[in-house]
Amino acid sequence: MRVFLASMLLFCGLAAAVTPVIAQEPAQQTPSVSAFDEAIEAAKTEMMADPEKALAHSERALKLAEQQSDQSKDQNRATALWLKAEALIFLNRLDDASGIATEALGIVEAAAPSTKLHGDLLRSRGAVSAMSGDVQSAMSDYQAAFEIFREAGITRSQAIALQDLGQIYWEAGDYERTLNYYEQAVELYNDDPGFALSNHNNLGETYKMLERFADAEREYGLAIEAARELESPMLETRILSNLALVQVEQSELAKASATADRALALTRNGEAADWRNFVYGVQARIAYERGNRARAAQFLDQAFAGADFETTDLVYREFHELGAQVFDELGQQQKALAHLRAFQRLDSQARDLVADASSQLLAAEFDFANQNLRISQLKQGQLERDIQIERERSEFRTMAFVGVAVALMIVLALTLGALISIRRSRNEVREANDELTVVNADLEHALKAKTDFLAMTSHEIRTPLNGILGTAQVLVASQSIDEDNLKRAKLIQSAGQTMKALVDDLLDVAKMESGEVSVELAPTSLNAILREAGSLWGDKLAEKGLDFFEDVGELPATVETDGGRLRQIIFNLLSNAVKFTREGSVTLRAFHKVEAGQIAIEIADTGIGIPEDEQKQIFEAFHQVDNATTREFSGTGLGLSICRNLANALGGTIELSSAPGEGSIFRVLLPVIEVQSHVHESLKTPEALSDCRLGLIEANPMKQAILAGLVEPHAKSVSSMQNADQCISMIDNNQIDHVVVDAGSVASTQDDLPALRDLLAHAQQAKISTTLLLSPTGGLALDVVSQFQHSQLLLKPVAGDALIAALQEHYSTEKNMSGSNSLASAA
């Protein structure tokens, strides 16, 4: 019974106000329960919990009544029809309910006029009218019902009819009249605790709207007593929360705090536990009013602990508003934005509730007595709030974290767009124009904020990243940790690099938006880039169990393009292909479209594919195919936007052909600007140091860097290596023409000498010149080392200019030698 009463009270507004009559009816049950009575009883019992069942029961009762032949037939028919109408109201089938109620009224006016049933039916029809927005019809039905109840001397029903009437004024925003009716209702009947609770809470809400907070406080106090009598901690908690908020309005913060504490104590267990978070919200409000923002923030965090901001309930609307305020003031913009977004969602939800009559019940539920009033106010206040929201929006300039906040920015920008269109239809054109100006200015602010934010973020994220990446790199390079920890350090390094790539991507996008893409065209070997991509991504694909195919046709050896940017495009597309392909293969294809004067580079996958309507949008920044995708396939959605921008900057385009479930083919088309190929030159021996691709073996990174810096200006290119193996593979791949070998780096002790000997022999065999640097005090026997094959041997310490001179001399000697050779043959 208690539960039933409780839910009844929650529905005590609007159509629900009808039900107390039903609820109180069971007492009149006759001792011998006929099938008809049983059906009626069942219909009443189910009314709250399951109106569909109630409807079925009432229809069954109606059939039974039709079969009757005695004098009670008409009255029973009318009773059954009344319940049917009630059930239809609960099911929000208002047109059906209206017809049934009118039919029943016809019967009852003839068979049993001015009975309680007559009054109840008038209330039912009045409720239908009220819900359909026909206030006048509702008023006349409610008044007629009140008259009937008054003549019949049924005070309880009279009081309910008065509440119905008060409700209409409440919805119209006329609180003085509302108060008038509610006060009369209390005077007439206030006997059972359920009714008292409803009465006093209604009065409290009305006084609150009239800003008569002291009166509201008193009424809530009485409602709380009733709730205790009902032994409903849940209702008590809710009214205590209302009370606390009213006390806040009166600046009675200590009292409010005590009230909220009481409410909190009640939520320790049982049915009231569901309201604990709401109470935390109340406490947040109190803390905020006390000027303690940090505490308010804590309570808000508790109120929304574990809450999905996409789905929070309407009752939390004000707390979201508070959250937006509090976290904004605390500079926690990310949270502030989340709250603001939730607030906006609930605001629009509240508006939808007005439009959707069935949801009015829900709306009524969240604040007992007719939140509809609030909603209509909300509607009126929407404009002011929109402007307020925009104002707040433009203040959110210093952002906290990159991905989330930027994404939110975009969402909010879209929201603003939506708001503009709503308001345009709502207002005069002139007004709309004024608002547009405001909104446009705010959007500009938002865009500027985004750019500033990206630049700032990039700086702020790079600093901690410096610590992460740098330390990881030191750990990996220092070789002072064991195998397991080395793996972990590498893991940190790799995660840090991913994050760095993300920051770089964001920065790239920002630069592209402001037209600052930098492209440096230079002779570039496509084959080298494709080979590199193939070897790097082949491994990653294999790790994921995907096949990798490379199909590279005849390409110009060298074209004029930006190799780094082209690599970025190909890597991004390959990374996408790997990410969105669960099974099958990825193919990297490249061919020369000679007639079109283009190079085509294709990355084809057998992945999830992209629906046609999404194919254009996916090149927009931050776009990914639907949200579900984002969850399964993480990422920022920046890659394709960057690819397109870069391809355009290189004078090319990107095409896409794709079908969902079959896979995607991204095709990069680049113009061919062929340049004199240098490839064949690598086959012949360089004639000068400046034509020479120099390799350096030096184990000490610092010395290596200095050595590289020293020779770089004099050679065609410099490749630094740390050991003999790296060097041998570079020789085998024809990547160097000459190698400078620090003997101590290959052989640190006498025992390692064979490795040095083999390396030098290998180089000699491949016709690679070798310059050997040896420290006489380094522990290697000079007489042994000097026996190894080499082109030059220099003793350390060697001056920088001496090394350069020696290298240059080597080439002039070679040249002279080859010159003399040809002379000799001529002779």
Binding site: N466, L469, V474, G496, G709
Partner: protein, 130 residues
């Protein structure tokens, strides 16, 4: 090899110190530009690493100050180490007569390559490989 690193962020200093350790170079720290300017006058360095955004004097101003000082300080190679990604950064560094720029997060190879390049450029072939 002696390196001076002028940087207000302790973590950044530690990272570069560790890196230079690995590379076998020693590093002296200065926590702001003023301290950096004192250090270059009092001690000998082979190269100076300079942050840009610091409380008080910024790094590029400090480089300009160094260039006004007497030899050998005015000739000291300076590498700007920054997280500043603004497009005109390199221009500003050139204007201040810094020798090179590397971006944070600092990668070991990049740092060393830059140092090698800068040393070769400034000291020319006076470098002795030992």
């Amino acid at each position: 090899m002696r390196v001076l690193y002028v940087e207000d962020n302790a973590m950044n200093r530690q990272v570069v110190k560790d890196m230079l350790d690995v590379a076998g170079a020693s590093m002296v720290e200065a926590t702001d530009a003023e301290a950096g300017l004192r250090a270059v006058q009092e001690q000998d360095f082979d190269v100076v690493l300079m942050d840009v955004r610091m409380p008080g004097m910024d790094g590029l101003t400090a480089v300009r100050e160094m260039r006004k000082m007497q030899a050998p300080v005015c000739d000291l190679p300076v590498i700007v180490v920054t997280a500043d990604t603004s497009p005109d950064l390199r221009e500003r560094c050139d204007a201040a007569q810094a020798n090179d720029v590397i971006m944070k997060p600092v990668a070991l190879e990049e740092l060393l390559a830059s140092m090698g390049r800068v040393l070769a450029n400034t000291k020319g072939t006076d470098i002795v490989l030992d």
